[in-house]
């Protein structure tokens, strides 16, 4: 099997991650932050360790400002719905995944907020496009760091600087960049960073995270028990417990902790170089095939999107799948992005690379692709 769908979820996972999940389930998976016994404490310690790892890796500044969610979509929903209030204006980019677009759209449909979409193509005009749309009521700018369709990278440091100047909260969707591209919350002027656990950080499915800058405390999205202040009706007013109701997914958080350690050990620059080499290998061979269009071809990285004249993307994906090659066709939950890139009806085929892919796999890929 050749797995080229790492933007959806990375596969396989590092052995250290698999081992830690098993160790967690077998030896310390009590209910964290609840009871007064050894297993509950050990689970809490592992979760705190993961907060520390993430805080250190993304320069959050304090482990308690890292909280866990089910995934990046829940992270973004918490932030968007928890920070925006009636009358606010919000900016998003034209490459957003539905995890950003839909919560914003919903708030706008319910007449709670208004929003505008800034342009990202051509890349050098991104900041200017955003700046033109900032108004008196603009409360937040939320955008992807790296879209899920191509390897284009938005200039988050410059966008963050703009937000600082204008007094706008800057929230970043790092679903496709965490673990692929260095992110420094302080230097990049980020107020809120939303992360997946199971993609470039090589944890397992079941947890994502939000990192908050000091002083940013959204409303809670979900309320319930969390082991403290049980006699009070309201949720605590401080992170992380304000946002963590119900039993935490300790095995997934343990996996994420181990995944971050693995990324640190390999080195993010080495990962980036490896993914770029794969991108160039596939791009070069795709370019030699007549009728193929590559989107954002000059932005090398972990994701490569292409379409073939006259052949629907899902047909190509199905053909590849039949031969054990995993890719993703269609619209990738990003109507905005596909419109921006002007992909054909039916979308495009996405190849997405990870640390376990090898350049030699390209031979098999192109042999199968040429049969269609």
């Amino acid at each position: 099997m050749i797995y080229l769908d790492n933007a959806a979820t990375t596969f396989p996972k590092p052995l250290s991650v698999t081992k830690e999940v098993r160790r967690c389930i077998e030896t310390y998976c009590g209910n964290p932050g609840r009871s007064s016994h050894k297993l509950a404490l050990e689970a809490s310690e592992k979760i705190f360790s993961c907060r520390e790892s993430i805080s250190d890796f993304f320069s959050v500044g304090a482990p308690e400002r890292v909280f866990f969610t089910l995934n990046t979509t829940y992270a973004l929903n918490t932030v968007i719905k928890g920070l925006l209030h009636r009358g606010d204006h919000v900016l998003i980019s034209d490459m957003e995944h539905n995890s950003v677009y839909r919560p914003v759209f919903r708030l706008a449909r319910d007449r709670i907020v208004t929003f505008d979409i800034f342009r990202t193509h051509p890349g050098e005009l991104t900041v200017t496009s955003a700046e033109r749309l900032v108004g008196k009521k603009t409360k937040m700018l939320v955008c992807t760091h790296c879209p899920n369709l191509t390897s284009a990278v938005l200039p988050i440091r410059e966008i963050g600087r703009l937000c600082r100047q204008k007094g706008v909260i800057f929230a970043v969707d790092a679903a496709q960049s965490a673990g692929h591209i260095p992110i420094d919350m302080e230097k990049d002027n980020i107020d809120v960073l939303c992360l997946p656990g199971h993609k470039g950080l090589y944890g397992i499915q079941g947890c994502g995270a939000v990192c908050l800058a000091e002083g940013i405390v959204p409303d809670s999205l979900v309320e319930g028990g969390n082991g403290i202040n049980s006699f009070e009706g309201g949720m605590p007013d401080f992170p992380p417990e304000r946002f963590e109701s119900g039993t935490m997914p300790t095995p997934a958080i343990a996996a994420l902790d181990e995944g971050v350690k693995e990324i640190k050990e390999i080195g993010i620059d080495n990962i980036r170089e490896h993914e770029r080499n794969l991108f160039y290998t596939y791009r070069e061979r795709l370019e030699s095939i007549r009728g193929i269009k590559i989107y954002d071809p000059e932005a090398p990285g972990a994701v490569l999107l292409f379409s073939v004249d006259g052949i629907p993307s899902e047909r190509i994906a199905a053909h590849l799948a039949k031969h054990g090659i995993c890719v993703r066709g269609g619209y990738h939950c990003s109507a905005l992005g596909h419109r921006t890139l002007a992909t054909p009806p039916g979308g495009a085929v996405r190849l997405s690379f990870g640390i376990f892919n090898k350049t030699e796999e390209a031979d098999t890929f192109f042999s199968v692709l040429s049969d269609i």
Binding site: S44, F48, I228, E232, P236, E241
Partner: protein, 82 residues
């Protein structure tokens, strides 16, 4: 009783802050352990804290204050070690 062996407890906002406090104190060479506080001793229900030797009290207060870790209350006596 020799004060060196007396135990004190700092009540924290949550397990997260208790763990953070314990790690900071450990880095400073101060022994402490996590306790779940007796619910009847707190005003709001379930709570966690750290127990330490009272003799280290000044150091504990200084470190927690400098790291802006909120302490709901300091209590004489130690909690049951988890």
């Amino acid at each position: 009783m020799n004060r060196s062996y007396e135990l004190c407890t700092a009540s924290m906002r949550s397990m997260t802050y208790a763990l953070k406090a314990q790690r900071l104190l450990e880095a400073a060479g101060v022994y402490s352990y996590i306790v779940k506080l007796d619910s009847s001793a707190t005003r709001r229900g379930c709570a966690y804290g750290i127990t330490f030797y009272c003799a280290s009290g000044d150091t504990v207060r200084r470190i927690l204050r400098s790291e802006r870790i909120s302490v709901s209350q300091y209590i004489m006596g130690g909690g049951e070690k988890i």
